[in-house]
Amino acid sequence: MDDKELIEAHFQGDVQAFSLLLDRYLSPMYGFVFQMARDREMTDDIVQETCIKAWKHLSGFDLDKSFKTWIFTIAKRTALDYFKKKKAIPFSAFDDGDGGSIFEDVSDIREKPDEEFIQNESIEELDKALDLLPEGSKNILVLAYKEDLSLQEIAEVLGEPYNTVKSRHNRALRKLRNIMAPKNLTVS
């Protein structure tokens, strides 16, 4: 059953339907939140709150839209609210770290490039390199390349304009390239 069918089954009283949706999205959402929280207990709390919010507001979900994008959006907002309450991570950690502003004029109109890497043990190095990126840049790359969200969907999740996300995505790739360049990795 696809997401739409599961949600419709949920509204018709099928108690297993929401559980099946959780099976589908709990892990990717957990990974996304963990990227931000970096703490298991905090991530557990945020993910639990996210799922309860999703359950409560499921009647307001547009069935023609992507459930994954919707629940990731809730996860991101819940995480930010949680951090603000706990003051665990400064709000500025969600900027892109190089003075970039969401109000900047973006003229870069390149489509999302599918970069190729020639790798030597690059998975571990990629993981380490991601940790060196600012939080905002890391989120965009993880959502784009690990969770396979489109830039439009990422813009919805992060609550930012599409062109801003596109520009930040390109900057994030450049930064990643710069970090990984000395480690025998080249971009073709």
Binding site: S19, Q48, C51, E115, S122, D127, Y145
Partner: protein, 144 residues
Amino acid sequence: MDTLRTLFHQIPSQEASYGLKGRILAAIATELEKRVKLERRAAYTGMLFSVAIASIASFGYGSEFIQSDFWSLTSLVLSDTSVLTGYWSSVAYSLLETFPVGAAIAFVLPVFLFLISLGTYSRFQQDADRYGRYRIGNGTSVTA
């Protein structure tokens, strides 16, 4: 040669903590329980309130309504329909003029409230049924 996407997919993911799904479903069951209790309280209170208002309206406005010009005119029309056929526009205007707005609101309000309470009661029944199924065994609803 791998693409960036392939590399990202190979980065090990953080798996959800053991038992998290069970805790989430248990929390949802608790939310549903709260909702069921609230709906039950709202339904019964609404019905009781509407009956109380209807009773007060009957005592307060009942005799006033029976003695009103509107009721006299209505009784006349019902007892002799030739009045209606012959003078329907005058009758209609007179009924409008003498319509007891206060009494009408006093009687319509409890009916309206009762219908809303009935709707709430219906939702309560559905949610109570769903809550029961969550508690009995939604696979991992209560236990991890």
